[in-house]
Subunit: 516 residues, 2 copies
Amino acid sequence: MVRRGGRNRGGRAANVNQHAAGAIRQMDWRIPVNIDAPTEPLDEEGVQRIHEAGLKVMEEIGIEFLNKEALEIFRRAGCRVVGQNVRLGREFVLEMIDRCPSEFMITPRNPEHRLNIGGRHMVFGNVSSPPNTFDLDNGKQVGTQAWFRKFMKLTQYFNCIHMACGYPVEPVDVHPSVRHLECLYDKLTLSDKVVHAYSLGTERVEDAIEMVRIAAGVTDDEFDRTPRMFTNINSTSPLKHDWPMIDGALRMARRGQAVFVTPFTLAGAMAPVTLPGAVVLSMAEGLAAIALLQFVSPGAPCVFGTFTSNVDMRSGAPAFGTPEYVRATQITGQMCRFYGLPLRASNACAANVPDGQAMWESVNSMWSAVQAGVNVVYHSAGWLEGGLIACPEKFVMDCETLQQFQRYFDRSLLETDRGGLAVDAIREVGPDGHYFGASHTRERYTTAFYEPFLSDWRNFEAFENSGGVWTAQRANRLYKEILADYEPPPFDSGLHEELTEFVDRRRREGGAPTDF
Amino acid sequence: MVRRGGRNRGGRAANVNQHAAGAIRQMDWRIPVNIDAPTEPLDEEGVQRIHEAGLKVMEEIGIEFLNKEALEIFRRAGCRVVGQNVRLGREFVLEMIDRCPSEFMITPRNPEHRLNIGGRHMVFGNVSSPPNTFDLDNGKQVGTQAWFRKFMKLTQYFNCIHMACGYPVEPVDVHPSVRHLECLYDKLTLSDKVVHAYSLGTERVEDAIEMVRIAAGVTDDEFDRTPRMFTNINSTSPLKHDWPMIDGALRMARRGQAVFVTPFTLAGAMAPVTLPGAVVLSMAEGLAAIALLQFVSPGAPCVFGTFTSNVDMRSGAPAFGTPEYVRATQITGQMCRFYGLPLRASNACAANVPDGQAMWESVNSMWSAVQAGVNVVYHSAGWLEGGLIACPEKFVMDCETLQQFQRYFDRSLLETDRGGLAVDAIREVGPDGHYFGASHTRERYTTAFYEPFLSDWRNFEAFENSGGVWTAQRANRLYKEILADYEPPPFDSGLHEELTEFVDRRRREGGAPTDF
């Protein structure tokens, strides 16, 4: 196992914050708490109408489940099943949704990286599932294991990235039969944050569950008692859930693990061209799957995922961070508060390169997440080209903005006590002084303002004298310095060995089937 | 006057929308109406505390007015004046603030470009007052008249730019004695939108007023009866108002024209390091000046301007679009609603070039304006380097985001009638179709989604095959095509002639003094 290069660090104390020596000064680990009231574009009647329309779709049109086990369960639950079409009655759906916890925790192998999901908490996960990379040095390339590992190191390094979602890039150079083994091994050794398992076949899901259990050093029973990982499933819009996604979701729910259900409803393509209509479809697809999971495993931790955006009607290309995307996310936030469900969204953009468009689209997506009361932001760092590209420069640029959102939630900005109002300082400084030297300033200046690691706030001449380096180029330099500074998190040597043995055994057994 | 190149277009019908042939398809002129509830970071007690602290500063510490006329007026109003220090009692301040209209209109020479200021309206003005330009072809240069005119053409061209604020760039190659004449002439002929006069000396203000009156074709009395232009004054923080700003503000208010009062309170430099403290100082400075204007001219249209941000405590450089900037803007929004005052903010950034940082900072500034219920966004297109640079590429990039904010406010996105909910379409398309061809889509697709003019939403391969042009470079091409397509607005030939004669006479007279 030498080639994995994992040094034994089990003897070191657990360490929640990555404080690299030379690369950057970053904010400490924290779970952001969104203190803003949500933006509510619909009135109560509008919420009620979407609610009723979603129920109507489930009751009268039905959802297709391409999974025999699911159909059997729905039959048992008293739903009308015709072929693969399931009609879910409103009483059933609402009773099942009521079983969902509105808040829960996910505990990774390092319990100091435990996550609060739901309520006013808001956690950020890395980019997930692009088949390609783009960086300034190489342009667009097919994803590799080498890049996968770089992105996992960035994921671990940044304290503002709270969880590892799907593969940050698909390592196409690793055979699909063993890819999940290699990737989960890398995730669990290069990082100690919450990890995700793809619902892409029984063996993959079961392997991932077993690896997370081993890395946590817990028994099967202990594992089942508390969420330690999650999967994310997408419906095949319109109105359809495929076999492997539902199979994985059922397996995870039965073991008490978290399931995110994320319909991929692009308005005008696989969903209605009107945003409320696209949200109706999304709610019907998502709630139907969550109802299934709650019937099988009452109280299983579930998260509703929104991926409602629009397409460019000229080309059919998906667009993200648009006005329509922002409103759809806000509306879905209203619906999820209505149902008491935690909400997942994304830091999405359509741009192909880490430029101005990428950032205005991404920042729009992030603001919509804040305004919608989103609890989990998938793809929060590194995503380009509508999710087809993972980009290290974008990863670093996004982290600069994520830190600023964390800072934005800091209540210390809003203190209106005597010190905060500063009338004494205004009196002291008077009309002829400045505040640089005031005691009021000296007591507070080290923590008064957000301190950037990437933004260049100098004047143009200083900027130009140091080379006139644009943001993407600065990010290019910085991500390499960060990778050089990265240190793997401590890992108990016994557990590491057990994990390695499991992977070796499963690899010898041929891994997972690749014929589906 | 041939060199000005102004063709006589008085015979053409007035035209509210610029629809150039080949450059871009843009949104029609409209006054955006902000339909979102504001974000309120402070509770009622916090608002009350800032209110009380601001009154205390005015009552106990006082504001310096370096303007004899203002001191005399304050004396007459019963305020305690010692030297240049004015102590304003709370009853006086609150009585004066109560006189401010919470909503008013400004009517430019083309009445179809009339602006609603206040309420839920939100208008966008161009970048103002940078001494320099930066563009991709030339880098940073000192401002020129040629660039001034280019920016004025962009200001007129874009329907999402509702007003011409200060000089979009300072034309340093025009002598200061006649610069205001040349600039106002260009503004009034290259554009027919609301214009601004700098309060930089009696003669300049009076010349500007006269030129706007002539261009509007109205008598002095008619002019005085309704706002047709505005000035913006800044305090010299801390606690000070300079002579020319107050002189200009008094002249404008007496003639019924709009005055924006914008303290420039950078937390940690000329304002307290705490945000609530910086807002307290800003409110005290701004309300004191507004009280003066309301005493002299009851009901004069006034706007409170916020420019509260923070500095980088390492370098002292101003920062914009930061978490602190966003919160300060939101808090100031709460205060202005408390006082019933219209609010001005800015689309500000610290970045030196039109890159990712520029856009995340600018979009943060814009979202803070939306969340604060801002009525006028100064500098909404083209600003870089904390206001020291006007950039044509950034202008075009900002307009793409401004259009998206306009679209964001469109209620059609939120329709939950039968068509909006789309259950019939969901039934029609079923589980195996797609929505591209559905009648529900066909009836709506042309107006369903925002249509960008600059964003590239194609996939990477299409993007690369067309040259892989990053956003700033696309904007560089586009602003030149727009300038080539620009057409000056119609202008009555008689009024044009009168305006030209006025400028010629004032130029012969030597313009304005330059020794202050």
